[in-house]
């Protein structure tokens, strides 16, 4: 049985080097971590720099000491901004707009997604493709005609649509509804049809099926879509810049950019603080709900 053993006995055997393949693997790991660290530094450098600057007084900034370190940290920028009425108005406007837009978006999207994913009606397939195409239409294409349309409506009916923050609630859904609908269609479509049939037999109408079965089962998708809608609403810059001009109507991104940058003198400490505070809500949501955030992103492409 052991034909080979005799041959092996005679041969001079060098001891095996354990772990040499593991060593190659360790080298690969080292380089991976090295480059990952490099990119993390590159990616996190601006926000960290924002934070460092926000702790500096104007004096320290103009003294042009090491920009990468704070020598006399102060919270004066924060206290100034957070007690400044105008800044708080920006925050308030942003918050209200975002929350309302999210609510409107989710209602429209969930209803439409349910209808497109489950119930076939004439033209539902084209509508689904149309939803996807709509998402590809950028806001920079639409803002000019919309501006003119709103001016037109103002002339004809006297309703002032320009320069009011609540106009944004009408505008933002163009950005959020298509993608949220798309995400929800994906999630709803992946719910097994047996669940519908079980609900029908149990006596549920369509509304009840939606509320009692689909929404709870597709909750991760709903959370992902909600986060997406909120982030897009909060971060939008073009529409508010074009459609709102008076200081008390501005939302946060536009407010910070236009009012803190007055003339030639830029108060960078305050600007960075404002920017950081403006970036805070999406960052906080991301920190706590990172998996849903990412699921929302990848759902669009991978759920096809």
């Amino acid at each position: 049985m052991t034909v080979a053993t005799a041959q092996l006995e005679g041969e001079a055997r060098r001891p095996p080097r354990y772990g040499s393949m593991a060593r190659g693997r360790r080298r690969a790991l080292f380089w991976s971590y090295f480059f990952l660290a490099l990119f993390v530094i590159f990616f996190l450098m601006p926000p960290v720099y924002m934070f460092i600057t926000s702790l500096k007084s104007s004096g320290e900034i103009s003294a042009a000491t090491n920009p990468w370190w704070v020598f006399h940290p102060t919270l004066s920028n924060y206290t100034n901004l957070l007690t400044q009425k105008q800044f708080l108005i920006f925050y308030r406007n942003s918050a209200i707009v975002s929350v309302l837009v999210v609510s409107v978006t989710m209602v429209i999207s969930v209803l439409a997604a349910f209808s497109l994913a489950r119930m076939k009606f004439w033209g539902s397939a084209t509508l689904a493709t149309g939803v996807f195409l709509t998402y590809l239409v950028p806001d920079t294409l639409l803002f000019i005609p919309l501006f003119k349309i709103f001016a037109f409506i103002h002339d004809k009916t006297g309703i002032e649509l320009i320069n009011h923050w609540w106009v944004l609630i009408v505008l933002y859904p163009t950005l959020t509804v298509p993608f949220c609908t798309w995400i929800m269609i994906g999630y709803f479509a992946s719910i097994p049809k047996e669940l519908d049939e079980a609900a029908l037999i149990d006596g549920a109408g369509y509304m009840q099926m939606l509320l009692r079965v689909f929404i709870p089962v597709a909750l991760p998708g709903i959370i992902a879509a909600t986060i997406f809608a909120f982030t897009v609403s909060w971060a939008n810059f073009l529409y508010p810049l074009a459609f709102t001009t008076s200081a008390d109507q501005l939302v946060l991104p536009v407010g910070i950019v236009t009012t803190l940058i007055k003339g030639d003198v830029y108060n960078w400490g305050q600007i960075m603080t404002g920017a950081l505070l403006g970036a805070a809500p999406p960052l906080v949501i991301y920190a706590f709900l990172m998996d849903y955030y990412i699921a929302g992103l990848t759902a669009g492409a991978t759920k096809g």
């Binding site: 690969a28 790991l29 990616f43 042009a64 294409l141 163009t174 006596g203 369509y206 074009a242 096809g304």
Partner: protein, 330 residues
């Protein structure tokens, strides 16, 4: 309601067909009603404005007369005018100075979009592989940190870049001068300004590519890599022969999608350079804004925005084709 259903079922065959049809009709009516808000949004806020934009683009500045393609003639005439004037004696000099703004806008938009997307795709691809390579437990942490640029509202992070590129206080220049390199004029110089815009854009968008590619990478079965290892492939060959072909679809979709978004980008250019210096970083969106809203020439603005449309349409069709291909494969 279950009772009602049961009662229907016991009806005669013909009757059952009638009630079934009524049920279907009612169902599709309900479905249509549910989709109505969506249709309203799309029709009223997307399709109608887009069509209206086409109409607007064909009016004159005061919007009294219909001028057909007059606006485009205006934009392009100066384009062509330049080419004629250009060469002769002062060839290079007059070419640079007299290049019509709109031609620059087109050139810059294309330059930004193409170079930014290429960089983002490469960085995203490389990063996805590195993240996939480290043990599972650590991946979440690193992925979390690497996605931060995408999460921050671009308007806010661009302010940070603006501060980093400040002519007097640039933190980058502070480092450069300390190690003996000359200070860079960043946003004051057209070439550095363009570089800055692209850098900011790549910084914001690369994480998105990383996430998408990472998801695609994870769907490649590990056994294929083992089979390739036994077949004799090095890590580079594995990426070239297995990862790349199998991720081809996602790579295309993500790149095309980003092309559309980058092409139409507004926030970064507006805040960082406002199109300057001397309009050398203007893109479609910012120029349309400048002409249309600030310059009060709505039709001109509309025609500028619309110019993006053909390119976006081509990209959109390509995306759709790839998405369909993906659902049919395997």
């Amino acid at each position: 309601m279950a009772e009602a259903v049961a009662r229907d079922v016991r009806v005669s065959p013909i009757g059952r067909r009638k009630t079934a049809r009524a049920l279907v009709r009612r169902k599709s009516l309900v479905a249509f009603a549910m989709a109505l808000p969506l249709i309203a949004v799309i029709a009223g806020l997307v399709v109608y404005p887009a069509a209206y934009a086409i109409h607007l683009a064909m009016l004159n500045k005061s919007m009294q007369h219909f001028v057909g393609l007059g606006n485009y003639q205006f934009l392009f005439r100066r384009f062509i005018e330049v080419s004629n004037l250009s060469w002769a004696t002062f060839w290079s000099w007059s070419f640079e100075v007299k290049l019509s703004t709109f031609a620059m806008v087109v050139e810059q938009s294309v330059l930004f979009a193409v170079s930014a997307v290429i960089f983002k795709a490469v960085i995203g691809f490389v990063l996805a592989h590195f993240v996939h390579n480290i043990p599972q437990k650590g991946q979440r942490k690193w992925r979390g940190m690497l996605l931060v640029p995408w999460v921050i509202p671009p308007a806010m992070s661009t302010l940070a870049w603006l501060w980093l590129f400040d002519p007097s206080y640039s933190a980058f220049n502070w480092i450069f001068t300390r190690i003996g390199l000359p200070a860079v004029p960043w946003l004051g110089n057209p070439y550095w300004a363009r570089f800055g815009v692209i850098l900011d854009n790549v910084w914001v968008g690369a994480p998105f590519f990383m996430i998408m590619y990472l998801a695609a990478l994870k769907s490649v079965p590990e056994q294929l890599h083992e089979a390739a290892a036994i077949d004799g492939a090095t890590w580079l060959q594995k990426i070239w022969y297995i990862n790349l072909p199998m991720m081809r679809n996602i790579i295309a979709i993500t790149a095309l999608f980003s092309l559309i978004v980058t092409f139409a980008n507004f926030d970064i250019v507006k805040i960082l350079t406002n199109g300057g210096p001397i309009d050398q970083t203007q893109v479609f969106a910012t120029w349309a804004f400048m002409k249309g809203i600030q310059g009060n020439d709505i039709p001109l603005g509309a025609s500028v925005s619309l110019f993006m449309f053909p390119i976006l349409a081509v990209a959109a069709i390509l995306i759709l084709r790839n998405v369909r291909k993906r659902t049919n494969e395997i």
